[in-house]
């Protein structure tokens, strides 16, 4: 009897793990898609603008690359400062 209960618990745990992993993947994709749609609607002119992640405080780092919030421009040889959190800005698509 104990063996059966143990097996049932293990099977349930395994099923839960598998389902959770599958669900997390789908949730991420759904979330991204929803966000993109909401942003496109909000922007109105979705074909010409893009939303990019940017940082308001940057510093030099050779080889690195970052978008600076105040200009919404890509800065080569720069990275986000350690304490800086990211924001978003909108710019024309290339």
């Amino acid at each position: 009897m104990k063996k059966k209960i143990f097996s049932a618990v293990v099977v349930t745990a395994a099923l839960f793990t598998g389902y959770s992993a599958y669900n997390m993947q789908n949730r991420q994709e759904l979330s991204d898609t929803l966000l993109a749609n909401v942003e496109a609607l909000a922007n109105g002119d979705e074909s010409e603008r893009e939303k990019v992640e940017c940082y308001s405080s940057i510093e030099y780092e050779e080889g690195s690359y970052v978008v600076y919030c105040s200009t919404c421009q890509s800065m080569k040889n720069h990275t986000d400062k350690w304490y800086c959190i990211h924001s978003h800005c909108f710019r024309d698509k290339k």
Partner: protein
């Protein structure tokens, strides 16, 4: 029945754990380096008495050192190694003629018998310029010549002139990866033998795939030392030859590195310089939080052009960039300490161990 259960459970666990796809960035071959044939520790010394306040990086140009200044009236401060003294400020900040809106990048030095040139990219004009350093310093006026417009390749980073007719370009495509190619007489030529360097993409942070790059014109080779991963990618610009050097047992997983939170980021390479017979990469190999606090010690890893390890010099500080002059003097610049500093070591004896390479 028991075996069926075990098999069923195993399959479920494997399926549950397989959501993470492992992916490595690599050239045709991978050389794993566990140790260097020669390892040397350098001791702390006093810095040279130079005013380097505000300097963020150093680029060597024969007997000159170009210090880059991110915030200030000028972007370059030029020092002479012959006199160990300041010579001139160059590249004034501004929006006028012969002024620059942002810190230029992709510096590349071209020594000739008659003059010393330095190429660099100006993003505001999207132009690769060639500066005649000799004439500029003699006349006290910037001697510049536009060499190439990368208006079509806005993300060019770096763009390096290889000859009068060819340019090497590494360009970021969107914000998820880089592609490398050459323009020869305006015609694009892709590199066929560089493994998956041009095809790997990331979701979170482009800098997962960012690197410091150095082009050796004489050998027509490119060396890319990765900022966030434990590897150096080396490839030929004129053949299908390419290899990846991994200092460690295993190449980093791109997706895993890309998924790391800012707090967990690591800093690997900070600078790379190529010479005729070898190239040298500045290795940090520490957490980003320690790196920005100036904790830890950098090292210089020497490799021959086949990817074999030659020498490792362990420095007593966190370094930003370096220069080896005439196989004897080692200059190390650090912008990570309390004050920006330049150190000079006599490494003549040390470098003899790799002189025969």
């Amino acid at each position: 029945m028991k075996e069926t259960y075990i098999l069923f459970i195993t399959i479920l666990f494997v399926a549950g754990c397989s959501s993470h796809n492992e992916q490595t960035l690599q050239c045709n071959e991978v050389n794993y380096v566990q140790e260097f044939p020669h390892e040397v520790n350098l001791e702390g010394i006093k810095p040279l008495p130079l005013n380097l306040v505000g300097c963020v990086d150093m680029k060597p140009a024969d007997s000159l050192l170009i210090f880059k200044v991110d915030e200030g009236e000028y972007f370059w401060k030029i020092y002479s190694l012959n006199s160990n003294g300041f010579i001139a400020d160059m590249l004034p900040r501004g929006h006028g003629d012969m002024e620059f809106a942002s810190l230029p990048h992709s510096e590349s030095v071209i020594p000739t018998d008659s003059a010393l040139y330095c190429d660099f990219c100006d993003d505001a004009r999207q132009t690769l310029f060639r500066c005649d350093l000799t004439r500029t310093l003699q006349q006290g006026r910037l001697a510049l010549e536009p060499k190439f417009s990368y208006r079509k390749y806005e993300g060019a980073y770096p763009a390096v002139s290889l000859s009068d007719t060819s340019v090497y370009i590494k360009e970021n495509v969107g914000s998820d990866g880089y592609i490398r190619f050459m323009l020869v007489n305006g015609e694009r030529q892709d590199f066929a033998g560089i493994g998956n360097l041009n095809t790997v993409r990331v979701k979170e942070n482009l800098n997962t795939l960012s690197a410091v790059t150095c082009i050796n014109r004489k050998r027509m080779m490119a060396v890319e030392a990765m900022l966030r991963m434990n590897q150096i990618n080396v490839y030929s610009l004129q053949s299908d030859s390419s290899f990846t050097i991994c200092v460690g047992e295993k190449l980093d997983d791109v997706n895993e590195v890309d998924g790391l939170s800012k707090r967990m980021r690591r800093k690997y390479y900070g600078s790379v310089v190529t010479y005729d017979n070898y190239f040298v990469a500045l290795y940090q190999g520490t957490s980003m939080s320690d790196y920005i606090q100036g904790k830890g010690k950098s090292s210089l890893q020497f490799f021959d052009w086949k990817g074999n390890p030659l020498l490792c010099i362990k420095l007593p500080m966190v370094a930003t960039s370096f220069y080896i002059k005439d196989n004897s003097d080692l200059y190390v610049f650090s912008s990570m300490e309390a004050e920006e500093a330049l150190y000079k070591y006599d490494c003549t004896e040390l470098l003899k161990s790799i002189a025969g390479v």
